[in-house]
Every structure is written in C-alpha cells, then in structure tokens.
Amino acid sequence: MPGLVLADRAPAETTSAPIPEPAPAELVRAYRTMVFARAMDERCLTLQRQGRIGFYVPLQGQEAAQVGSASALRPEDWIFPAYRELAVALVRGIPIQLLIDQFFGSGGDELKGRQMPNHYGYRRFNFVTASSPVGTQISQAVGTALAARYRREPILTIAYFGDGTTSSNDFHAGLNLAGVFQTPTIFFCQNNQWAISLPRERQTHSTTLAVKAEAYGLPGVVVDGTDFRAVYAAVAAARQRALGGGGPTLIEAQVYRLGPHSTSDDPKRYRTDEELNAWKARDPLARFKLELMDAKLLNEDQDHALWEAARQEIARAVAQTEATPPVPPLSFFDDVYAVVPPALQEERRSLEQLLAAGTVRP
C-alpha cells in the first residue's frame, strides 16, 4: 500500500483479504469532491471577509485525508466529525445547500441557526452533529459502536479529530474503552501539524501520534495524508478488520493545515513561510491531479470544467440561502427538551409579548 507505514513499534496486524484499489471512476469522483471542497473553502473565506457569514474553519491541505477516509466507508457507518470535515460531509452526499444554509444560520438551516458555521450534522446521513469542545465525539463514537454491535448491525463508527485533540480526556477514555471492548471503531487523526499555534512536537513527546495506540492495545498506523490512495487503503483495511471482529484502529494521517486555524486566526504569528511553502509543494489536490493526468483519467479542460461546475453550484446555493427568510424568532425555545416545559413556555410567551409590543426586535 503506497505511503502507508505501520507506526513505530505498534502491534502490527495485517488484514487477510487484500484491499481493492478504487476503480478509475471512483478516483475521478474523489478528485471532483476534493475540488468541490477546495472551491467551497475559497468561497466561504470570501463570504466571511465580506461579513456575509460570521466565521469559517477552512480545510485546505486536508482534502485527500478526508476524501480518502470517507470514501472507504459505507453510508451506514456513523461519522463523528470535528469541525473541519467539510470534504467528509461532501463524500457522504450532504447537499451543499444544507451546508451553506448552516453557515449562514438561515431559515433553511436544518439545525435552526443554533450553531456556529462548520458545526453541523445530519441524522439521515449518519453524520453526527459536531460541537466545539474538542474530543468529546471520540468516546461517543465508541458508545455508538457498542450499541451497533449489541444490535448485531454490521456497521462501524469513525471519529475524526486533530493532533491537538490527542491530548484531550476523551481521546484517552475513548481509545481505552474501544480497546477493552474491541469495538468496531476507527480513530482517524488528521495530524495537520498544528493545534492553533502549538506545533505537533510540543503537543506531545511521543514519536508519532499513531504510537499512542499501543497504550490501549490497538494497532496504530501512520499514513501520508496527502495521498488519497494511501488513506483509502488504510481506512479500508481498518474497516475490514473492525467488521471482522478485529477491533479498533488508530490512524494518523499526516497532513498540513495550509490556511489559518479559522477566520479568527493569523498563522503568520506563529509559523514560517518556509514551512508553509514546503507543504504547499505537497498540496494534495495538485498531487492527485498529476496522478490522474498521468493515468489519463483527467485533462486540463476537464479539470477546468470541474472547478467551474463547483463554483457555479456553490454560487447558486449561496444565492438561494440569501433569499431564504431568517430563522423564526421564537424557535430558539424549541429542542431544549422533547416538549417545551411550562416554565420555558412562560419565558417564550414573555418574549413573544415584547416582540409584539415592538419593545425588542428580531
């Protein structure tokens, strides 16, 4: 498997069945998703600068890791994302209209304007709603895997998180539980080298992040996260093992966050242009494009058309979102509980009166 190495001294487990290479059509589809994600990212950064959306978390540099991992899953597998997994959402088939609606917190947002941009999730896509506190999804993913196994449903769960999040309480709790109960779970760490301003080597003194698997008796693998095929192979192998009863895997995909941590961040304060440029030379999109062109699966015109189609579809979605009425003012009282309790009804009524009297305005 290209670019895939077993972590330093991690208990090596090799799967019996060989992992099939993705078919050419799959490769092109994957590339198209990566283009789409990159185009979304560029557009959303602009929307944020223009003040049309409030905040944005870019994913540039992590497209191959995300598309490669998500492509190796099946739709019934449950995804527990962090906040940077736009390309995973696209692979899952979540309509970009939904995502743009969420970024705007508009009336079309199925989350009803409750969360900051990038913190979305859709039950019908088995894509669990993200939160901001890092790591909490990791132990939850283990619980869901336990539940699925209890029901004898042959699915797995995958938790996405970053290098910094390996320091969280839930990383420790989640991986330990998964080891003890041998749950069908993949822990997919996108090591993008930075946790805001903290570099990977000051996050932890371990040789790799994958080696942490050994603390829980799990296999840990390091994979070149700029290489779609390598990531795909690693995740497909881990999936096969998990569903065969072989238990969980920790995968460290080595990537780089090419952009800022978020639109609130200025990476020039803490990292050098040299480092950035070295990684820009390994841009996963550029690499994949060359590979596809070498394999005669893509030419420049087709590439250009992919970008154009993506930009147009995104523009249409933004236009539609901006034509959508805002979330109804009293809707924020819903979904605290299954049924609005009396005291909260009273609070809602009091706000309704203030709105009706024009004392406060939406």
Binding site: G121, Q140, G143, T144, Y150, A173, G174, L177, D335, P341
Partner: protein, 325 residues
C-alpha cells in the same frame, strides 16, 4: 405491593426496565460482577448478561461519553456514577454534550438516558462521598433532575425517567438507601416527572425539600404539631422541571416558606425556590423566606452531624418562621 428499601426499589425498577425494553443497557464501575458498591445493581448482570450490564474501566468521562453514543443510536443507556462526588470527570460530557445534543442538532439527535448516582451526606463519607451537587445540573438547560425520597417514588420516578425522551440525572439519597422501607407497587409503577408531592398537609408554614431531607422535615413537622404549629411538607421530587404551581399554591395558603437541602446554601437549589417566591409570591409572604442548608464549606468528616440540617435545626427554623412578621 412489596415492602422494599429504597435501594431495593431502584434495583426492581432497573430489573423491570431490563426485562421490558431490550434497548436498556446499564454501564458503570463495579455494577456487574460486584452488583454495585451499594448493591443497587445486584444480580442484574447474572440475569441479563455482561452485554447489558457492563463493567467499565475507571473513567467517568468514558462512561458518559459512551452512554451518549448509545443513546444517539437509539438505546436507553443507564450509566451509573459510583458516587455523585465522582461525576466531575464527566462534567464536560454532561454539560457540553448530553444537555445540548438535541438542541444543537435542531432536534435531530435526542439523547435520552438516565444517569444514576447516589448523593448526599450522613454516612461519614467526608468531603468526597457526601456531596449534593444537584444545583450544577439544575442550572444546565437540557437536563432533567430527579431525586426520590421513598422506595415507591424511587421505583416510579426511575421508570418514568427511563421512559422519558430527555436526559435525566437521577440522584439517589444513599443515606436512606436502607433506613427507609415502604410498600412499592409491583410491575410498571410510574410516578410522573414534574409533580411534587405534599407529604403532609398544613396551614401555617410550608416546607420545601427533597431526597434524604424529606423524612427529617416530616419529623420536624410532627414535632411542631405538638406545639400547635401546622406544617405543610412538600417533597419536590423533580427539581427540573420544577412543579412551580405546587410551590406557589402552598405558599399562597401558608404565607410562610422554609426551604431545606443538604447542599451549601450559596447559589444552591433553594436559592431558585426563594427567588421564585420573591418574584411570584411576594404579596403572599408574611415572613421572610428561610433556608436551612449545608453550610458554605466543603463537606467535613468528623463534624458532619453539625454540618447537615437535622431535625432540630429544621424545627427551629420552622418555629421562628411561624413566629416572624
């Protein structure tokens, strides 16, 4: 009907739920082979198997995180925290995740589960086996908080909590796990959440309490009956959602309120009750509201009997409230 202790009633409710709903799963430290350090889960792993009554590693973070993951998938997990004092490693999962999942997903991901934990003092448990932490959770929108005071309520409220569509923190007064016995209906006994119980009617002073304080308040009320003071004792049972009509109705009748809990006074649950009275029953109040609570110190070991509200302190507070104004 069967005569049971409170902890036996909890055990019966769990057994009933395991028997009748395959989605019910128990998980926690020492709950399986050992039957729980208070024996609340005694016999359940033996009868329902280790897949449904799960002994977990020593991680409250993991217990609650995993339980949330199970609930998202459609199970009805019932995690146990061995002592409420040890709930804090799970605080992030409870406050950031459990309480907010339904909300943040726009209603897509309800997260119904019942987190059980024994709470409270009076067992010589010192700082870390005695606390009453209900106020933290009562202040967290998205959670329900339930505290029974009798075997029948323990079973009935627990079964209602398990059936509820929202996350419920179910705190059990360990001090009266065994000291209180009572008749408990067999089968699917339910006590609805959100309804207080007037455990003793009276006309002069209202006493609001819950959990292990209820028998003490009742004892104090009986003592005062001898002096000719008629005391109404209201057991709130569900702290969230609060049965506000019951609170207000009682004070409208008596004009006087004493609030009793074990937790420290400052920003305790009693503050909310007093605040509601100051907002909505001011014109009914004939005397200052009075709180009888744990003092604003950590929970001491050697002197816990002075720290905790006892019958004498409660009776004295009722007496002076009856006289005031």
């Amino acid at each position: 009907m069967t005569e049971l202790t409170l902890v036996q009633a909890v055990n019966r409710a769990l057994r009933h739920a395991l028997q009748n709903d395959p989605n019910v799963i128990l998980l926690g430290e020492d709950i399986g082979v050992n039957g729980g350090v208070f024996r609340a889960t005694e016999g359940l792993q033996k009868d329902f198997g280790a897949e449904r009554v799960i002994d977990t590693p020593l991680s409250e973070t993991g217990i609650v995180g995993a339980a949330i993951g199970m609930a998202l998938y459609g199970l009805r997990p019932i995690p146990e925290i061995q002592f409420q004092d040890f709930i804090f490693p799970a605080f992030d999962q409870i406050v950031s995740e459990l309480a907010k999942f339904r909300y943040r997903s726009g209603g897509q991901y309800p997260c119904p589960l019942v987190l059980r934990a024994p709470y409270g003092g009076g067992i010589k448990g010192g700082l870390y086996h005695s606390q009453s932490n209900e106020a933290y959770f009562a202040h967290t929108p998205g959670l329900k908080v339930v505290i029974p005071s009798s075997p029948a309520d323990a079973k009935g409220l627990l079964l209602s909590s398990i059936a509820d569509e929202d996350p419920v923190l179910f705190f059990e007064p360990k001090r009266i796990y065994r000291s209180v016995t009572g008749e408990v209906p067999d089968g699917d006994h339910r006590v609805p959440l959100g309804t207080a119980a007037t455990v003793r009617e009276g006309t002069d002073v209202s006493v609001f309490c819950y959990g292990a304080m209820v028998p003490l308040c009742t004892a104090a009320a009986e003592r005062l009956a001898n002096d000719g003071t008629s005391v109404e004792v209201v057991d709130l049972r569900t702290l969230v959602p609060l049965d506000e009509p019951a609170l207000l109705a009682s004070v409208e009748k008596t004009g006087r309120a004493v609030i009793v809990h074990e937790a420290p006074r400052f920003c305790g649950y009693g503050a909310e009750l007093a605040a509601i009275l100051a907002e909505k029953a001011l014109y009914s109040l004939q005397a200052p509201v009075c709180r009888v609570t744990g003092y604003d110190t950590p929970f001491p070991y050697a002197l816990e009997n002075l720290y905790l509200p006892g019958v004498e302190r409660i009776a004295e507070a009722i007496r002076s409230t009856a006289r005031a104004g």
